[in-house]
Structures are given as structure tokens and as C-alpha cells.
Symmetry: C2
Subunit: 280 residues, 2 copies
DNA sequence: TACGGCGACCGAACAGTGTTCGCAACGCCG
DNA sequence: CGGCGTTGCGAACACTGTTCGGTCGCCGTA
């Protein structure tokens, strides 16, 4: 992270070429080179020219990722993204068809962060359960780490065609096959587990990103919100009890346990199915 | 639906008042009344005035709902919605704080379509399983019927504070309590089941709404897409097998079975937990 | 060496978007 | 009758995604 080359490369592309626009007050047109603007000189001539292009798809995706993490989904505009790359907004379109395509690429990038579950030793129920648990927890964590995901997942129709998503799917299928399921069953299991993970993470992350917009702590917001909520539940006795007793506890505990309990129940169901199949 | 008052009321509000703008070519300014524009007469005077306002929150939400169903999420703009209500775009803001708030209201409206699960007789496993199954299938169907839901669910942080969502939650909790779970457990079960439902429905509906944009049949799109997909899976043998054998079958079968198999597994897990708790 | 072609890049422009503001019109209450 | 609160709206603002036409500088060929 701290060594030279990557940072240097970034600097280089950020500089792009120095053909200047007529815009004046932005940055004074490179006064410290001593070269008159427009006259080529070693200091204002395009660094390496066009053949290794200033922009690349990967850089765009990476920068979009960073922008999303830093400022959230509604801060991502093509113009702002272009500016961050020291490029015009329209330049992005030579590398990316659409904003939608860009978002699809970014989403798959997120899945690329996750470690792949390993199938080795998955005949042992303990092992495959641990593998699945780790995989789903990782995915939940990733979505919570990048709450803008939930605003995007719904618009990206083709997530599961991205290479990183495919990698995860393949690995998960391998785990389940090793555990003794045939492919169709493994697929069902994967859908159940992934569905649960994405669904809960969606609800959670929607809350988290609503939270992020008010720049207050979760505890603080909750304290402020609970009276209203409790009042709103007066016609719903069970929800009322839930919000007065259970929910504050969950919030304090960090919500992780609830997720694990859910996935445990699902894994129990899966194992029961598997046992039934072997015995029957 | 066909009797007088409601239709009449709608007509009435669509007419709003007839103070005219300067716009000319739109509709000729009521020539058939015989009244000069601007001069009050029984035919161009505001029908009933403002005290029963021309616009109401409910009407706005209903019209937004219709527009979303008809043209999808990106066709919903405040201006277009206003136009559909024969009102200016800005008028909406006296009834709705935001576009976001509007969307939240619409989302809760969708949940209002669903029948509530009933707790009666839920001590019998067969009964509560059927109740939960019906509830989740209904929700999945609703999301698929309104695929724009998935684009919106992520942005609406507070879904579970809407009255309709609360109604469903309360009813589900009642079912699970009757089935013998305590409140905390019932909550876990609800989260697991709802998480799975929302997650799978999200993936499904994202596909469906991508599909809707190409105006071709699912079979047609699939035939066109499969070769590409199969080619893309060449490094993933299990996915490859899945897409060459399993997936076409699922598509043909309508995808319903997969959902039911998943929820069945989860219910198995829940029942196992319940049995263990009773026996232990 | 000259030149055509090509791919990257970008400014201007288009057709919208959500939202704010100030003003006009009206019914109601005093 | 006069002020008040509510409701509606036109204009305006600051943006948005995307297209188009054009420019620039390199590469392969002649």
C-alpha cells in the first residue's frame, strides 16, 4: 500500500494530458512549470500519450466503488466520477456502456472481496455447516459494509452472471456436493441460504443507510425513534412487546446473533433433509 | 366499481378548478360552455372549491401505484404523476414530503394487498406451516406482480414501520406464538422466513424487470441468452451443468417449485427446533 | 516520410429530474 | 368584511444520464 509504483501510476493517470480548457479560475494553468500554456515542453506535454489510455474500466469501477463508500449512492453521478478521475464525464462512456453497467460491475466487485468457501472435508456436517455459515456471514458483512448495495441490487438484473458471483456460487455448490447432495439439491440449498442472506441484509442495510443519512449513532437514533414506534404499535400487542423489550436488546447486541440464529435454523432444515434422504 | 359516486368523485377532482394557464394548444379553453374564460359562470367555476381538496395523499399514492405498474420505476417522476392527476408537479408536495416518502407509502400499499395469516388452529404443525407458506407465497407473488418493488425496497429505510407491514408482522407473530414459540423465537422465525422470501423475490424480480425492458418472452430471452451464459461458465463445471440441464427445466416449470422447496427446508428447520425444545 | 484511419477523449447540448420559493386563489372563522 | 390557513402552481435552480460532433495524437501502411 505504501510503496511507490501504484501511487505513482495513479498520479500519472490523474495528470492525463495538459491540453487546457478555457476555464480560468479553476487552477491557474500550471504556472510553476515556467512553460507558456500551449507551447509543448517536457513539462506540459502529454505524459505518455494515448496508447496506454488514461482511463481504464478497472480504474473507473474502483473509483466508483470508493465514491459509493465515501458518499453513498445518490452522490454517484457520471460527472462527479469523471471529475474524481480528472476526466470528463463523457469519457467514461468509452469504457462503460451505461451507468447501469457500471453499477453491475461495481456490485460484482463487492462479491470479489469475499473469501471462497472451501469444499475440503465437507463430508463432515460440522465442516460444511461452518463453510456455509462463514460464506453467508461474509456476504452479510460485505453488504453492511457497503450499504449502497441494496439500492443497486434491485436494478441490476444480471448479478449472477458476474464472474465473482459465479465463483462464489461454484464454490458453494462444490461444498454441498461434497456434503452429499446432488446438483439440483445443492442448488436449492444455495438458493435458500443466499436468499435468506440477501433478504435480511437488505432490510438491515436499508436501515443502516437511512441511519447514515442522519449523522447520528444507531443508539442515539433509536432512542429518539423508539417512543414514536412504540406509540405506533399500540394496535399490535406482540410488536409492542417486541419493540419495548426485545429490539433494544438486539440493537445493543449488534444484530449479529439474530442473523446467526436464522441461518442455523435453515442449516438444521437442510441437515434434516439430508439425513432423511440418507436414511430413507 | 360501476356505480356512480366514486367515478364521479374521481372525475370531479380530475377536473380541478378551471382557472386557466396561458398555455394555448393543449385543450382549447372550454369553448363549448359558451362562457368567456376568466369570467365566472356555473360551468367554469371551481366545482366545489378547496375545502374538500382536489388532491389527497391516498389518491396520489394510488395513482403512483398505477403508474409504477404500468410503466415501471423509471417512469415515475413527480411531473408525470402530477400530470396524471391533472395537477402540477409541485402540488404533490403539500401532501407528500418527498419522492422517498411517496415511495415508502406505495411500498406499504403493496403489503396491504396481502391476506393476513390467521392464527386459529396453529397448534397443529400442518396448520401453521400452511399459514406461513401461504403468507410467504403471497408476498413473493406480490413482489413479482410489482417488480419495481425491488428497486424501491432498498431505498426505503423504514418499511417495517408502515401499518400494513406491521399488520402482517403482528399476524405472523400470532401464528408462531400459537404454534408454541415464545415471542423472541417467533421473531427469529419471522425474520428467517421473511428474509428468505424477500431475498429470493428480489433476485427473481430483478430478473423479471430486466426482462420487462426487453419486450420479449422469458423463453425467448433465455434461448438467446443461454449460449452466452453457458460459454461464460466454462471455468465453473457445476454452474455449467446447472445451466445446461437444471435451469432450462426450472424456467419451463415457472420457478414456483424452487421457492416452495426452499421455504419447506426452512420450515423443516423451524419444526425441528420446536420439537427439540419440547422434548428437551 | 506522408497519410489515412482509429480509438480515446471531451465540450456543448438535450431533455429531462427533484425540490424550493413566492404568489394567487379560495373557504372559513372572527 | 377582513385576515388566516390551506392548497395549488409557475418559474427557477441545480443537477442528472446520455448523444453528437469534433479534436487530438498514435499506429500501420504506402
Amino acid at each position: 500500500m505504501l510503496d511507490g509504483p501504484p501511487a505513482t501510476r495513479e498520479q500519472e493517470h490523474k495528470r492525463k494530458d495538459s491540453r487546457m480548457t478555457a476555464k480560468s479560475e479553476d487552477t491557474p494553468p500550471e504556472p510553476r512549470t515556467g512553460a507558456l500554456p500551449g507551447i509543448p515542453s517536457p513539462w506540459n506535454r502529454p505524459r505518455r500519450g494515448r496508447t496506454q489510455p488514461a482511463l481504464s474500466r478497472d480504474q473507473i469501477v474502483a473509483e466508483a466503488f470508493a465514491l459509493l463508500d465515501a458518499e453513498g449512492i445518490e452522490a454517484l453521478s457520471m460527472r462527479k466520477l469523471g471529475a474524481r478521475l480528472n476526466a470528463g464525464a463523457t469519457s467514461l462512456y468509452t469504457h462503460v456502456a451505461n451507468k447501469e453497467e457500471l453499477l453491475a460491475l461495481v456490485v460484482d466487485q463487492v462479491f470479489g472481496e469475499l473469501p471462497l468457501p472451501v469444499a475440503e472435508g465437507a463430508e463432515d456436517p460440522k465442516v460444511w455447516r461452518a463453510a456455509v455459515l462463514e460464506c453467508t456471514e461474509g456476504m452479510r458483512a460485505a453488504i453492511n459494509r457497503h450499504p449502497w448495495m441494496v439500492s443497486v441490487l434491485g436494478d441490476v438484473g444480471m448479478v449472477y452472471l458476474g464472474p465473482n458471483w459465479m465463483g462464489i456460487s461454484e464454490a458453494l455448490l462444490a461444498v454441498m456436493e461434497t456434503a452429499g447432495f446432488d446438483l439440483a439439491e445443492a442448488n436449492d440449498v444455495m438458493n435458500a441460504v443466499m436468499g435468506y442472506t440477501i433478504g435480511t441484509a437488505c432490510v438491515e442495510a436499508a436501515w443502516l443507510s437511512a441511519l447514515a443519512k442522519t449523522s447520528r449513532s444507531e443508539q442515539e437514533v433509536m432512542d429518539q425513534l423508539l417512543p414514536t414506534v412504540v406509540a405506533a404499535t399500540k394496535d399490535f400487542p406482540r410488536l409492542h412487546r417486541l419493540y419495548t423489550t426485545q429490539v433494544p436488546k438486539e440493537i445493543a447486541a449488534g444484530r449479529d446473533d439474530g442473523f446467526v440464529r436464522g441461518i442455523t435454523v435453515i442449516l438444521d432444515g437442510i441437515e434434516a433433509t439430508r439425513a432423511a434422504r440418507r436414511d430413507g
